[in-house]
Amino acid sequence: MMKHVLEFEKPVMELRDKIAELKRLTENSEMDLSDEIQKLEKRLEKLETDVYDRMQPWDRVQMARHPERPTTLDYIENLFTDFLELHGDRLYGDDEAIVSGIAKFNGTPVTVIGHQRGKDTKENIRRNFGMPHPEGYRKALRLMKQADKFKRPIITFIDTKGAYPGKAAEERGQSEAIARNLLEMGGFTVPIICIVIGEGGSGGALGLGIGDRIFMLENSTYSVISPEGAASILWKDAAYAQKAAESMKITSYDLKDLDIVDEVIPEIRGGAHRDIQAQSEEIKQVISQALEELEKLSESQLLEERFNKYKNIGEYTHLDL
């Protein structure tokens, strides 16, 4: 049985529990309920399709924040070999809200960086709930420069509610740290692949998010402000978060429609946490293909295409005079 059940998937979970219960009964008594079980399993199949194929934006927000959702370190473990975590920005400290290091992907040396949430309260406190301070972004920058020097592709995992809104963060230049990464990521001559795996929260997400390919897991979100934040500003009430989630177009499919995301990576039905290995396999294929395509480009082509990718984002018109 799952520990955390989201509101919209309750009917599925209830039916699953019921089937499990009947199976137990069959085992422990002479009653043969296999017909009944089979019927219910068919119904479950249909119900799962109904529920998970028709997820609303708000359901996806919940899924992106699911406590059991795989984190950067989970994917690193499943996607790479020889991962060596490297610490510190050489300026102030080591921000554990971002993990980074070198590794091999299908035998190719790469640099891997990602936001890191905790899996429990204790770890979340240590990792500041995956909300980085400036030193986190500067650690990432240091390792991206190293990647650029040694011609290693950069792969980033995005999963944060946002950069930490704190006093110390402001004093140490949260704005500059994020801004610097945006500029520098525009200029590295190695392929950069960014994958949103959970919440893509505003500038704090973008600070690791400038690249040649932007992918999103199906149930991840990417937004300029949290739905709660938008609701409290626009409608003066955080309770309108659901409405804000719909209005702001923050799901993977929305971003694909807006031509920001290159590809949506399909998720295991019921969410990535249902099968991390299988999910990693999906991601692995997408990264492999992207690397293969990008490695064919010359350095100047790579930069030109990256520039154009961002230059083309946006919608506007000209006044008729």
Partner: protein, 285 residues
């Protein structure tokens, strides 16, 4: 006329709320929100919108800034007629844009173009907080990126005056991506040795602070401007403590090593000219 003057004064004096005190409608007279003194609007304009009594830097519109800082009749505007769509079909967005277009006489929250400053050619972008709080949506990002590209192609310096509450919510993640667009454009300028001067004015926050505003070869600010990443209220709620009065002001940023210099508006033109002169090829021109 004289009667109008007196009746107005009396009306202001009788308004008790703090909010109303700050909010004197535009007209003949103006009240300084800092020192509370009342003076002629003309007097303020002549003084580059700096309070003659307490030096408080009042807001400046984009065109006022052009007029005060750049050489007369040297400005050629770019992308003047570019306007926002409502790409997300966001409720009430079009009405809000229309209202601000009428109110400000601007088509969007930034004015860009080519202008001379003490004879030096520059590509310039001036944000105007009257339009949607100077927030950055697709048009603001595109106009700024175009100005940066023009600076690069023409090998002239790029100067920006920022005034913005951050990314524009109503264009959602498209607004967020404008931070990327402008910063990647700045990278290209930077790679070719182009000069970029950022002058932060009140207010410069959120996504604008966390992109081009902080990326100048020189980062300057006007005195007393609010500059920061996260909003004061959000920080106070997060850390559960009261922030110091001067938190996120220009002076606070200077003290914390985040700015090159805080420049009084009266000295802005001469300081910018000095920087441009030091960067000019020298001799030939």
């Amino acid at each position: 006329m004289l009667r109008d003057f007196f009746s107005k004064k009396k009306r202001y004096a009788s308004i008790p709320s703090q909010e109303a005190k700050q909010d004197v409608p535009e007209g003949l007279m103006q009240k300084c929100p800092n020192c509370q003194k009342i003076f002629y609007r003309k007097e303020l304009n002549r003084n580059m919108n700096v309070c003659p009594h307490c030096d408080h830097h009042h807001r400046m519109t984009a065109y006022e800034r052009l007029e005060h800082l750049f050489d007369e009749d040297s400005f050629v505007e770019w992308d003047k007629h570019m306007i926002s769509n409502n790409p997300l079909d966001f409720p009430d967005y079009e009405e809000k844009l229309e209202k601000d277009r009428l109110k400000s006489d601007l088509n969007e929250a930034v004015v860009t173009g080519k202008a001379k400053l003490q004879g030096f050619d520059t590509a310039v972008a001036i944000m105007d907080a009257r339009f949607r709080m100077g927030s950055m949506g697709s048009v603001v990002g595109e106009k700024i990126a175009n100005a940066i590209e023009n600076a690069r192609k023409e090998s002239i310096p790029f100067i920006i005056f920022t005034a913005s509450g951050g990314a524009r919510m109503q264009e959602g993640v498209l607004s967020l991506m404008q931070m990327g667009k402008t910063s990647v454009a700045l990278q290209r300028l930077h790679a070719e040795g182009g000069l970029f001067i950022s002058v932060m004015t009140h207010p410069t926050t959120g996504g604008v602070s966390a992109s081009f505003a902080s990326l100048g070869d020189y980062n300057f600010a006007e005195p007393g401007a609010l500059i920061g990443f996260a909003g004061r209220r959000i920080i106070e709620q997060t850390i559960r403590e009261k922030l110091p009065e001067d938190f996120q002001t220009s002076e606070f940023l200077l003290e914390h090593g985040q700015l090159d210099k805080v420049i009084h508006r009266h000295n802005l033109r001469s300081t910018l000219a000095t920087v441009l002169d030091i960067h000019s090829p020298g001799g030939e021109e």
